[in-house]
C-alpha cells in the first residue's frame, strides 16, 4: 500500500530505485530491433522478453523515450468499438490494463471513470445502439442510455432540449478508464530493460540493408546493426521508415491537438465524448480538464498549436458545460497521427519475411498499448500474426477489405 512511501521516507538518504535504465552502448547485432521507443515498441520488447524469453532486443528511438504520441495523447482507454474484431482486440487490451500497475510494480494510475459517448441526432443514436449491441454480444459492458440516466452519471452536463444539438442519448461504457500515459511507457521500459532489452534514445534509423526479401542490417546515426527481426512502431514516421523498407502504407499523417486547464476541485467524474460536437473531456486526479477534438483539417508533420482548434473546441465544451466560461486554459499541444482509411491499425507481417509492422494508429493507439505489445511480441516471436490481428493485416487493402470501424473513433475526422 503506502509501505513503499514509508520505507523511502524514513531513510536517511534517498535511495533511487531507477525506473529507466542507463544508456547502453549500441552493439553490432541484435535478435530483434524495434524501431520506436513509444508505448507500443516498449510493450512489445517487454512481452518478447517476458512471454517468449527473447531478450536480445534493441529498442531505438530518434528522440527521447516515449516522446512521441505516447507523451501527447489524452490517455482514454476503452473497448466500446463497433466491429466484433475491434471489440475483441480492444477488450483483450482492457484485461491487460487492469493488472498493469501490479505487474509493473509501478502505479500507472489506471482510473475507472466510466465513458459516455453522446448522441445528438437519430443517426448517431442508431450507431451507438449498434456499438452497444455488438459490445454486449462480445461480453463487453456497454449500454445505450437516455437523458435521465445521463443526468445521474453526469449532473453537470447540459441536457437542455433548447441546445443547438440536444443530447438524445449516449453510449455508456462503464469500463472506460484513463491512465498516466508516460508511466505506462516507463513501466514497460523498466520491465523490458530489467529482462535484458536495451533502449537506445536519440538513435535514428537512416536506412535498411536488404538481401532478397530479408532485412539484414539496420543503419542508424550511431552505427549499423545486424538484425534477426525488425519491427517498426513509429507513429508519426511510419511512412518514412516504411519507405526505407520499400513499403508504401495506407497512411496519411494528420496533426491532432489537445489542451489542458488549470487544476480545479473535482466536479466531473466520467469521460464525456461527443462525436457531433467534436469534443472529448475528462478531469484528471490533479483536477485538470483534459480536452481534445477532431483531427486537424489538414495533414502534415507538425506539432504546432492553432487558434481555431481551441476556439471551436471551447465553444463546443461550453455547449456541453455552459458554466465553464471562467475556467482557464493552461496549455495546448499537438501530436502527429497516422490515419488509415478504415480507422484501424496496420499490424503484422509485411512482404519482407523478417520485417513486421505496427502502424496506422491514428487517434486510437494509446488504449491498445498492452494488447499491441502482447500480440506483436507473439507475431515477432513466432513469425506469423495470430488470428486476432488478421483483420488488421497490411494486405487487406489490396482487396478493398476494410475494417468497418468508422463511427467508433471518438470524434469526427
Amino acid at each position: 500500500m503506502a509501505l513503499g512511501l514509508l520505507k523511502q521516507g524514513l531513510r536517511r538518504k534517498y535511495k533511487p530505485q531507477p525506473v529507466l535504465p542507463p544508456r547502453p552502448e549500441l552493439k553490432s547485432s541484435y535478435d530483434v530491433v524495434i524501431i520506436g521507443a513509444g508505448g507500443h515498441g516498449l510493450a512489445t520488447a517487454y512481452y518478447l522478453a517476458k512471454e517468449h524469453g527473447i531478450t536480445d532486443i534493441a529498442v531505438l528511438d530518434k528522440g527521447y523515450l516515449a516522446g512521441g504520441n505516447t507523451a501527447r495523447n489524452t490517455a482514454i482507454v476503452r473497448s466500446n468499438y463497433l466491429t466484433p474484431e475491434g471489440v475483441r482486440f480492444y477488450d483483450e487490451s482492457m484485461k491487460l490494463w487492469e493488472g498493469l500497475s501490479n505487474e509493473f510494480d509501478f502505479n500507472i494510475q489506471f482510473s475507472h471513470r466510466g465513458h459516455l459517448t453522446l448522441a445528438h441526432a437519430d443517426s448517431t443514436l442508431r450507431t451507438m445502439r449498434w456499438r452497444a449491441e455488438v459490445n454486449k454480444h462480445m461480453g463487453v459492458d456497454s449500454e445505450l442510455i437516455g437523458p435521465e440516466d445521463i443526468r445521474r452519471l453526469c449532473p453537470q452536463l447540459n441536457l437542455s432540449e433548447e441546445a443547438r444539438w440536444p443530447v438524445l442519448g449516449a453510449l455508456y461504457h462503464p469500463p472506460g478508464s484513463t491512465a498516466r500515459h508516460d508511466a505506462v511507457a516507463w513501466g514497460y521500459a523498466h520491465g523490458a530493460a530489467k529482462r535484458g532489452a536495451e533502449i537506445h534514445q536519440h538513435t535514428e534509423v537512416t536506412g535498411f540493408r536488404t538481401e532478397g526479401d530479408r532485412v539484414t542490417e539496420v543503419e542508424t546515426n550511431r552505427g549499423k546493426i545486424r538484425c534477426g527481426r525488425v519491427l517498426q512502431a513509429v507513429a508519426g514516421a511510419s511512412s518514412q521508415v516504411g519507405a526505407m523498407a520499400g513499403l508504401r502504407l495506407p497512411i496519411h499523417t494528420v496533426p491532432l491537438q489537445a489542451c489542458v486547464s488549470i487544476p480545479m476541485m473535482p466536479f466531473l467524474d466520467p469521460i464525456i465524448v461527443s462525436g457531433t460536437l467534436h469534443t472529448y473531456i475528462w478531469q484528471t486526479g490533479r483536477g485538470e480538464l483534459v480536452m481534445g477534438g477532431s483531427s486537424d483539417p489538414v495533414p502534415g508533420y507538425m506539432t504546432r498549436s492553432t487558434l481555431d482548434f481551441k476556439e471551436s473546441l471551447m465553444a463546443h465544451v461550453m455547449e456541453l458545460f455552459p458554466f465553464l466560461g471562467e475556467v482557464r486554459l493552461n496549455r495546448q499541444w499537438g501530436g502527429m497521427t497516422d490515419m488509415t482509411p478504415d480507422f484501424s491499425p496496420v499490424m503484422g507481417e509485411t512482404p519482407l519475411t523478417n520485417y513486421y509492422i505496427d502502424a496506422g494508429w491514428g487517434t486510437w493507439g494509446f488504449k491498445a498499448t498492452p494488447v499491441c505489445g502482447y500480440r506483436m511480441a507473439e507475431t515477432v516471436a513466432k513469425g506469423t500474426a495470430p488470428d486476432i490481428l488478421k483483420p488488421f493485416r497490411y494486405e487487406r487493402f489490396d482487396t478493398f477489405d476494410q475494417v468497418g470501424e468508422r463511427g467508433a473513433a471518438s470524434v469526427g475526422h
Binding site: 500500500m1 512511501l5 525506473v19 440536444p166 488549470i262 476541485m265 486554459l329
Partner: protein, 960 residues
Amino acid sequence: MNERLPTPWGALLDREQPVTFTFEGERVGGYAGDTVSSALLGRGTWLQGRSFKYHRPRGPFTLVGDDANCLVQLPEEPNCPAEHIAAVAGLNVQGQHYSGSLKRDRARFMERFARFFFVGFYYRAFYRPRGIWDYWEKFIRRAAGLGSVNTNTAHCYRDKQYAFCDVAVVGSGAAGLSAALAAADSGADTVLIEREPVLGGGLNYHRFDADGSVGSALRAELVERAERHEHIRVYRDTQCTGRFGDNLLALVHANRLTKLRAGRVVVATGSIGQPAVFRYNDLPGITTGSGVQRLMRLYGVKPGQRAVCVTANGNGYGVALDLADAGIEVAAVVDLRKRPAAEPRADLVRERGIAVHPDSGIVHAVERDQHVAGLRVTRRSQAERDGAPGTDIECDLVTVDVGATPAISLIAHAGGDVSYSNETHGLTVRELPPGMHVAGSVAGPCSLSGARAEGEAAGRAAASGAPAALPVPTERDGPENDPWPIFAHPKGKEFVDFDEDLTIADLRNAVREGFDSIELVKRFSTVGMGPSQGRTAAVNAVRITADQLGESVEGARASTNRPPAIPERFGHLAGRGFDPVRYTPMHQRHVDAGATMMVAGAWMRPAYYGRDGQAAVREEVRAVRENVGMIDVTTLGGLEIRGPDAVEFMNRMYTFAYRKQPVNRSRYLLMTDDTGSIVDDGVAARWADDHFYVTATTGGVDSVYRRMLWWNAQWRLDVDIANVTGAWAGINIAGPNARAVIEKLDSDIDFSAEAFPYIEARSGRLADIPVRVLRVGFVGELGYEVHCPAGCAEALWDRLIEAGREFGIRPFGVEAQRVLRLEKGHIIIGQDTDNLTHPEEAAMGWAVQRKKPFFVGFPALKARESQTLTRRLVGFRLPADTDPLPEECHLVIDGDRITGRVTSISYSPTLDRPIGLAFVDPERTEPGTPFTIKGSGGTLIEAEVCAAPFYDPDNERQNL
C-alpha cells in the same frame, strides 16, 4: 496601520475613490486603480495562496502574475490571479486550496510528511492490493485541484473581433515604444499591445540610474508620442496569449478576443524575474526587485519595514535606493558576485550607508507568522556547508535580482529556437521565426539605451519588410544573470518550482531515477507543468538537470513553450459560439403548423406535426395512403448538369446508365465512392439531351457536388455543374387525391395519367409559379415532387394547402416518410447502408450498369463482388403482437455469430404488423426464411424474410 505611500508613489491609484471588498470574509480597503493583490499588500496581507502539495503559505513573487502564487477564488471564477483582478466595490474574494481558512490551513500538516512525498511518490504506492487505487484515488482527487468551479455560472457574453495591421508590437517598455514609434514614423499601420493598464513597462518603475530620473523622463517622452501618433493603435490591459500561423495574434482584453493579423511582429515582451533557490525561498515577502518597485511606484504600497536586497547585478542597488527613498530601512544589499562591478547606483547605496555584502550565498530564510522574518547569509563558497558561520539579518522583505528569463513565449509559438547560453547564463533566442523581430530584454540582458536602439531598428525593419536582426549578447551590457543562484541545504525545502513544491533534491533524484533529459525530468517530476508553466522554474530546472547529468548547460533547451502565454478563459476562446443552422424556405410554415422539428445534419426538418409523435405519424401515414399529404423535400438539394458531355459525366459519376434516358423522364441515381461503397442516391430528371437536374439525399448534395467538381477538374469534360440547392425548394404531394389537388391549380402542365405518367418529369407553371415536377415513387403513392424557386416556396405551400383543404390535405414529416418508404422497401442511404456497403449487399445490383467503361467505384466494385458476399439486405416482417419491437441496429445472430443487423424497422399502420429491413446471412435470403434478432435485454425474436415492397408489390398505386 496605513501601509500606503504618499504621492507621487502610487501613480495608478485614484485616492479620491476608495474601494472596499472582502477577502476571506474580512473587509479590505483600497482605491480605484488597485488590484486585489495590491490592495491586500497595501494593508499588509501578503498571504494570498497555499502551495499545491505542502500547503505552505505563499504570496506574490513577481507581483505581476508571471508566477501563480496568488490564485484566488471569485464566486463565479476559480484560479484567478489576484494581480489581475481590478479592485472594485463589493468583490467577494476567497483564497483557494486550504482546509479551514487561508490563514489557518489545517492541511499544512502535509508538510511535516514531506519526506514521504518525494518526487514521483504517487507512482510508488497505492496500487497494492490490486484494485486499491480506485479507493485511494478518491482521496487524492479531493486533495488536488485548486479553485472550485461554480456549476451555476451562466454562459457569459464574450465576443470576438478581427483586426489587421502592418506591424504589431507586443510590449510597451523602452524597446516596444521605440519600435512602435519607428514603425509608425515609417508609415506602417502599427498596433501596440500592453498587458498593463499603462504604457511604459519598466520605464514606469525601474531605477536605471542613481537618482532615478532617467526612466520617468523617457517614459513621458515616448508614451506621449505613442498615444498621439496617428499610425499607432494602442491596446492596453490586453494580453497577447499566443502567436499563430502567419502572425495571427490572439489578444484578450475585457470581454473580447481580438484576432489580429499582423504583417510583421516585434516582440518586446521583456523578461521575468527569477528566484534564488535556497531553503524557504518561497515565503511571503520574498519577491523580485522589479515587482517591489512596481508595487511602490504604481500602487503606493509600502512593502515592509526592513528589507534585504539580494542581487547579482546592478538592479538590486536600484531597488535598495527606491526602498530607502520610500522610507523603508534597507538592512543590507546581499550581492552574490565576488567582485560587484562599480556603477553609480552601487556607489550611491554605499554613500547612503547601506551595508553591502559581496560574494555572498544564502543559507536559509526564517519564517515567522507565515512571512519572511530574516535571512541567513554567508560567504558564497560556504553557503552549502553544513554548520558554516553566517550572518543573520532580520527583515520582513527580501527582494531578489539574481537574473531574469526572457519572456519568449510568442517567439517559441512561432517556432523560434531558444536555448540556454553560457554567455548570458540564461535562455536566449538562437533563431528567429520568419516575420518576427525582437528588441530589448526579451533577447537577453540589455541596457536601456540598447533597448531603445534595438526597438528603433526593429520597428524600421518590420515596417519595411527587411530581415530581422538578432542582437549579439556580448554587445548589450545589461544586468547579468547569475549562472547558479542555487544553494542546496541539507534539510532541503529549497523550492525550484513553487507551483509543484519541487525542491533541488526532487530534480536531482528524478535524474537518478533514470530520467536523463529535461523532458523526462519534467514528465516524471511535473516541474513546469503547473499553472505558471515554469516561468519561474524552468531555468533553474535546466541548470540542475544538466548539472546532475554531468552535461554542459550550453545549448540545453527547456521543454517546449506552448500557447497560451498566460492562462486564458474558455469563454474568450468560445466567444458567442455561433453554430449555423439551415432552414428551408418553408420553415416558418412548419413551425406555424405545429411541427416538432428535428435535426437533419445542418438542416432542421419537421419530424411530425403535433406533440404526440406516435399518433401524428400514424395519422400522417394514413393520410398519404388513403387521401393526400405533402412534405417539404427541399433538403434533398439540387444540381444542374449541363453541356455536351452531360450524359458522359452522369455515366461516370453514377452507377446506372443515362445515355438512353428519355427527355422529360426521371431515373434513379446511385453513387459509389472509390472503394465501391454506396455514398448517395437520388433522382435525375432529364430536361434535354444535355441537361440533367439531380437531387441527392438530405445533407448529401454538397459533398456530391464537391466530388463532381473534383473528378471533372481531371476529366475536363465539357459540362457545367451548378449547385442550385439554395435556389430551389421542393414539395412532394402524395396520395390517391394528389392529382385532384394539383389539378385545382392553374397550370400549363397536363397532370392526367395519360399525359404525365409515372417516372416522367415536366416543367412549366403552377399557380403562376415556375415549377419542375417529377413523378417519383419514394412513398409508393400517386405523387408529384414539385420544385420551385426558393422565393416562391411559401406561396407554393400555401396554394397546395388551400387547394387541398377540401380533401383534408395533411402535411407529413420525416418520421411518416420513413414508414411510408419502408412499406415500399426503399432504402435510406446511411441508415440501411453503412460506409462499407456495396450495391450487391444492399440488393441494389439492378442499379449498376456494368457495360460502361468506367464509373467512380467500378474497379473496386468488381474486386469486391468477386469475393464471397458476407451479408445481404432483405425485407422482413414480425408477428403483429411482437412487443417490445426490436430497434434499428439490434443484431441478427446465428448462435454466437453476428450475421447482420436490423437497419430499419417500424410498425406499419397500413399492413398492421411490424416490417423492416435487415442485413442477414446471404445464404438465408429466400422469402419465408426465419432468422433471429437479438432485441432489448438480449431477448431473441424470430423474424421472417419477406419480399419487398411489402405494400402494393406491383406498384399499381404509384403508377396511377
